[in-house]
């Protein structure tokens, strides 16, 4: 028990003293996952609007694909990305394996279907009568779309946060494509670790297996804080939405 308390205290110290290794791991996580979420939102939300307002061939098939994507194990997504980008794979010439770029790609593929799926659901949840009211009042398709997006705004943001939740907490994909790499730098104070592709989530199993419980707990605390903030935002939006309705 004392050992546990001691571990937690040392973890808090690592965070508060801005330990370079801890900071660099957290930075990689935040840069990679935030980029993935921003890219996924920027592409998924317009597509969601298109999906709800236009009919086109294979629409149902694409919807099924999106649903499948939402349920795909991240580790499998990571594997697929890996085999495409590995040296002898079809995109191997890009030389992206074990870089932050490929991590963004993998997490983008994880976030995209969730944001798209939740946004489509949010837009479809806007009562049909809202659209028809806008139409009967003389609105054009574009104006109706604006009305619907406004009504679905809370739901779309919830979808983006859900996507963020998925990629920040995820281990399988990012470990497979990123490789969990950190390297050493010599400084006047001694040798320190710096993360190249190691993230909060991939660092935890590594540090526990190497016996550095304090570092693992430090990473866990930061990760927990991030997901806690995301959850807080989601439940805040839920409450706002239920007051609105």
């Amino acid at each position: 028990m004392e050992y546990l308390v001691e571990g937690i205290l040392r973890a808090v110290t690592l965070i508060l003293t801005l330990d370079p290794y801890v900071i660099s791991v957290a930075k990689v996580q935040i840069i990679v996952s935030t980029s993935a979420v921003i890219l996924a939102s920027a592409t998924a939300v317009p597509i969601a609007v298109l999906f709800s307002f236009r009919n086109f061939p294979f629409k149902n098939f694409l919807l099924t694909l999106i649903n499948t994507g939402m349920g795909l194990p991240p580790v499998v997504v990571g594997l697929v990305v890996f085999v495409f980008f590995m040296r002898r794979g079809p995109l191997g010439f890009l030389d992206l394996v074990y870089t932050r770029e490929i991590m963004v790609i993998a997490q983008y593929l994880l976030a995209f279907p969730i944001i798209l799926g939740v946004s489509i659901a949010a837009i479809n949840a806007v009562p049909k009568s809202i659209r028809e009211t806008a139409y009967t009042l003389g609105a054009r398709d574009r104006e109706v779309a604006l009305v619907v997006i406004k009504e679905a705004a809370f739901g779309i943001i919830t979808g983006i946060l859900a996507g963020a939740g998925r990629v920040f907490a995820e281990v399988g994909a990012i470990l497979t494509v990123g490789g969990n790499i950190a390297y050493d730098i010599a400084t006047p104070e001694g040798i320190i670790h710096v993360s190249k592709t190691r993230t909060l989530s991939t660092a935890i199993p590594l540090e526990t297996s190497q016996g550095d419980i304090a570092a693992a707990i430090a990473f866990g605390l930061i990760l927990l804080t991030i997901t806690f903030i995301l959850n807080l935002l989601v439940s805040f939006l839920r409450r706002r939405a239920s007051i609105e309705a």
Partner: protein, 365 residues
């Protein structure tokens, strides 16, 4: 004759094999209030949606101001649709203020700020919601939301207003308020189509009444025509003609026919039929005439029968409905309370009554 705004020509609509509307021919005229009366499932809402260009008919043609608009799309559709507005049975509010809601149709039409403010104010006054501009539209009561929906529609000054069951499930006081708003809207010169399943509403509001059943137009006419000369058995039933009988034509004369209903032979105004034909006849309960037994029978009374009162129940406030059995022939009669009192009518008592030949009407099945 007033100019036509909308004309439906042989309009039919199928949904997955089911015929929801069948060969509808109907004209909506400038300045009139047409009520579309029918039970739920008759196709009233589908008809409204076809007029508002939401639903394309499966067959037939739709005209707006004598221009065919059946298969319009894009800007041409938009232009026609912008001449009318529909208020749905359960109006929804856009999130935002009451002002935002009422202003919506004007904003997308590009009106100036000042004009929008003036018109919104006027529309809210019309529905009795002055000063509600800044209220959150989602916090309104059901009745208030409905009035905002009316304002939101009228503010555009449409040529035609489509009201889909605006008073279903309202209590009588709210209903009366909605009726008065509708009358005010009509005075603005806006033509109105209103669907309802309430006979009294169709009759009280409509310049003309169109009766719809199972997607088929049963009859179109003034309220009086629909009530007193219903064409079909359904119209008769739906407008409260509770006495309906199946009979057989016994005699066909030049001025009168005789129809046998069970053991009773009834004399009616002449109509085209052949002896032995089975027909359906009806009489409104308020047209059954009770006769005094203390004075000699006037020979101009036809179809005079005696019967026993088997049931008395209130019918509205002013009338009593009597169920009278004359052997196997039964009839319901509505009698003003004071008349019933004067004639000391009571359950089990005997009464003399007459069915005027002009009040017995032949009905199509």
């Amino acid at each position: 004759m007033r100019r036509s705004i909308v004309r439906l020509e042989n309009i039919s609509k199928h949904f997955s094999g089911r015929e929801v509307l069948s060969r509808i021919n109907l004209e909506i005229r400038e300045g009139e209030l047409l009520t579309l009366l029918g039970p739920s499932g008759a196709g009233k809402t589908t008809l409204m949606r076809i007029i508002n260009l939401f639903t394309k008919p499966s067959e037939g043609k739709l005209y707006f101001r004598d221009r065919e608009v059946t298969r319009l799309s894009g800007d041409a559709l938009l232009e026609v649709r912008r001449s009318m507005v529909m208020v749905f049975q359960k109006p929804v509010m856009f999130s935002g203020s009451v002002f935002d809601n009422v202003a919506y149709g004007l904003r997308i039409r590009g009106y100036s700020r000042a004009e929008i403010e003036r018109r919104v104010k006027e529309a809210l006054r019309l529905v009795g919601l002055e000063g509600y501009e800044e209220r959150n539209a989602r916090t309104l009561s059901g009745g208030e939301a409905q009035r905002v929906a009316f304002a939101r529609a009228v503010v555009i000054q449409p040529e035609l207003l489509l009201l889909d069951e605006p008073t279903t499930s309202l209590d009588p006081i709210s209903e009366a308020r909605v009726h008065s708003i509708i009358r005010k809207i009509k005075e603005l010169g806006i033509s109105v189509v209103l669907t309802t399943h309430k006979q009294h509403e169709a009759i009280a509001l409509g310049d003309r009444v169109a009766v719809l059943k199972d997607g088929k137009l049963q009859q179109v006419g003034t309220p009086q025509e629909v009530i007193y000369t219903p064409k079909t058995r359904f119209v008769a039933e739906f407008t409260g003609m509770v006495n309906i009988y199946d009979g057989v034509v016994e005699e066909v004369g030049s001025t009168h026919c005789t129809v046998r209903v069970g053991e009773v032979a009834l004399m009616m105004h002449a109509f085209e039929a052949s002896r032995g034909e089975r027909i359906c006849i009806g009489i409104r309960p308020e047209e059954v005439m009770l006769l005094r037994t203390d004075v000699p029978l006037n020979p101009r009374h036809k179809n005079v029968l005696t019967g026993v009162v088997s049931e008395i129940s209130p019918q509205g406030s002013a009338m009593l409905r009597l169920r009278i059995a004359s052997g196997g022939f039964e009839v319901s009669a509505d009698v003003p309370r004071h008349v019933a009192e004067k004639m000391s009518i009571r359950k089990g008592g005997e009464v003399l009554f007459s069915l005027k030949t002009s009040c017995l009407r032949r009905l199509e099945e």
